[in-house]
Amino acid sequence: MSNEDLELRRREFLKIAGGSAFMSLVAGAGFTALPGTAWSAHHLKALSEDEGKTLLAFARTLFPHDFLADSYYGNVVNAVDEKAAADAALRQQITEGVARVERLSKKNFGDQSFHQLGEKARTRVVKTVEGTPFFSTMYGETLGGIYGHPDVWKVLGFEGSSVEHGGYLERGFDDISWLPKE
């Protein structure tokens, strides 16, 4: 492990130690943090609590949005868990994927579990498993779970179905204001 990684981890630790009140103040890109809850892995059906923690950190590493509470990423883990409970092959893919992620974390980052690592270190681990079936599963589930969520639409500005509002004809389809005058 490089000194740089150690330093990063220290800073990440300080940031996390700052607590959730601090986190909501620094929420990304000027977005107000979405109220959410901490997410607990103890209710999972097929996956262990530790596997749940790894997947939660994995989902956040793929699409890290500081304005999103853990519960949003937790919904992704819940969905994976539901599917794994009904599909033995998927269950095995997840278990093996998590085991590999944990092996990589512990080997390269001072025996720490993946979810304890800072974002830079987590990113390096995820990069290593990119392209595996486990990665593809988590990618699809996280993309759909996070960006399919109506709360996230609201923050990012996607307005969803419009037909019941009469479309955008009178609701800003041509309201652009910053372009140079034609």
Partner: protein, 517 residues
């Protein structure tokens, strides 16, 4: 509504109810010809059409297919399986081909590795039928119909076009009502054209040609009827088709004429699957060209993070076009040309899925957070026909009726690559001229334009059908969809498919009354 007997061998059987099949059926029925239309998909009503991702499963062709080369291995093309076919999904851009595009071989000369040919028909042959098609579909910018107002994404495109020196740009020729016409309302700028237009402002055979044909009493639509093979007699003429109904029960419908309009993957699949001892390589395939020269158009997309809000999900999705690059100009280093058309990001989760497929991480998340500021365009250009790009029958997979699934192979020709690079560069410059802080260029989506696999040719040895879509080998077998295109041209294909169908209907009715078929 008419009902025809399975043994009625006086009917014209049309396979497919989309731009080609739907139009042809109505045109024939209006002339008093009896038509049975067999459509694999279900019949939706406007009430079934919503603004959301659920439409994908409702209208798409999701039966298994195989892709290879540059294509997605499991979902090589995105076309529809529903009454109305791909006119339910289409974005409604309705451009005429340019005269020189009917003479691709003559204009561009021989291009190594490409199987170029001239169409057997000229622009002048088709022009009167373009007139009829534009009137039928209510195309904006024609017949005195005003163009649609531009949405935000269009205004970005137009401002950038002006900055980089383009001069031929506008909100397109769209088969979307800009005012009430033909019993259908004007566009409300819903922003979900490609999920199906929930108010019916966009032309689709689902609620124009099909019900109009039914009203004549000469037309019967049978939805959820999947044609498995086309039969023929000892003289070689086709005599009817075998199809599976919604319950999987097989029937044979007799026919005087059979017209194939299942789009460029299913149409050649059906001809190949109808092989017999008389036609061992499949029907109408003495040239060996059935399934070959598959052209999904040269496409690509560009998404740019702009300095201010765009909200590109608002409004008509493709009502914006730059035509300057559609000309042929050998100085650019490639044959043929391309159009630049506005494209939405398909909301969320569309944008993160499509801007940079497979993208993830902190920097990408930051660009996703800028969703409001995203502008987008689609590149659509003429691709080179290549014999190696083709539809074949899978040796590995069969569908639930025991019919081998289609295997589709497509690899870019060097001309395709050069054109896409040029288009990406021009588009990037366009958005950067307005201060874009990030530009994503991406490779094609699963193909929505699928062309050329049963092509027209003057010479029976180099194509499948003549200038009327009549197969060279079998006089009463016709190709009625985009698979009859000799070359793809730079323009979105539907208007040309409709114009060809109107012309073909006139020809078929004439040949029937002359008893030639």
């Amino acid at each position: 509504m008419a009902q025809f007997d399975l043994n009625d061998d006086s009917v014209v059987v049309i396979i497919g109810s989309g731009a080609g099949g739907g139009t042809l059926g109505n045109e024939l029925a209006q002339k008093g010809v009896k038509v049975v239309c067999l459509e694999a998909g279900k019949r939706l009503t406007l009430a079934d059409i919503t603004n959301g991702g659920e439409m994908f499963a409702k209208i798409s062709w999701l039966d298994p297919r195989e892709g290879s080369g540059d294509l997605d291995p499991n979902f090589p093309a995105w076309i529809c399986k529903t009454v109305g076919g791909t006119t339910v999904h289409w974005a409604a851009a309705s451009l005429r081909f340019q005269p020189h595009e009917f003479k691709a071989l003559t204009t561009y000369g021989r291009v190594q590795g490409a199987n170029l040919d001239d169409w057997p028909i000229s622009y002048e042959d088709l022009a009167p039928y373009y007139d009829l098609a534009e009137d039928k579909m209510g195309v904006t910018g024609t017949n005195g119909i005003p163009r649609l107002p531009g949405n935000n994404n269009y205004h970005v495109l137009a401002a950038g076009a002006k900055k980089v020196g383009y001069t031929d740009y506008h909100t397109g020729n769209m088969a979307i009502n800009s005012r009430v016409r033909d019993g259908r309302p004007a566009c409300r700028q819903l922003g979900f054209c490609m999920s199906g237009c929930a108010i019916g402002a966009k032309w689709s055979t689902l609620y124009t040609e099909v019900p109009k044909a039914e009203a004549t009493g000469n037309y019967e639509l049978r939805p959820e009827s999947m044609v498995i093979r086309i039969n023929h007699d000892a003289s070689g003429k086709v005599t009817g088709v075998v199809y599976a109904d919604a319950d999987g029960v097989m029937h044979e419908q007799k026919a005087r004429v059979v017209c194939v309009a299942g789009n460029s993957i299913e149409s050649p699949r059906l001809l190949l699957n109808s092989a017999s001892s008389m036609y061992p390589d499949g029907l109408a395939n003495s040239s060996g060209q059935v399934g070959r020269n598959y052209m999904p158009h040269l496409t690509g997309a560009v998404y740019a993070v702009m300095p201010g809000e765009v909200n590109l999900h608002r409004g008509t999705q493709m009502a914006g076009i730059i035509r300057d690059e559609s000309r042929y100009d050998a100085k650019r280093g490639f044959a043929a040309g391309y159009e630049l058309e506005t494209l939405p990001a398909f909301g969320l989760p569309g944008y993160p899925a499509y801007a940079k497929p497979g993208g993830w991480g902190r920097e990408y998340a930051r660009d996703i957070e800028a969703y409001r500021n995203v502008a987008g365009l689609w590149i659509v250009g003429e691709d080179m026909p290549q014999e190696i790009n083709r539809v074949t029958l899978s040796s590995k997979q069969k569908d639930r009726f025991g019919m081998p699934v289609a295997h589709v192979h497509k690899q870019d020709h060097p001309n395709d690559k050069a054109m896409r690079e040029h288009a990406w560069k021009q588009s990037t410059a366009l958005y950067e001229s307005l201060g874009a802080r990030k530009v994503y260029t991406r490779m094609p989506f699963s193909s929505t334009h699928n062309l050329g696999t049963n092509r027209q040719s003057s010479d029976a040895s180099s194509g499948v059908c003549n200038g009327f879509g009549q197969t060279h080998d079998i006089a009463n077998l016709f190709i009625s969809d985009g698979s009859q295109f000799t070359t793809s041209a730079a323009e979105n294909p539907t208007l040309t498919i409709v114009a060809l169908a109107i012309r073909q209907a006139e020809y078929i009715a004439g040949e029937m009354s002359r008893r030639s078929i």
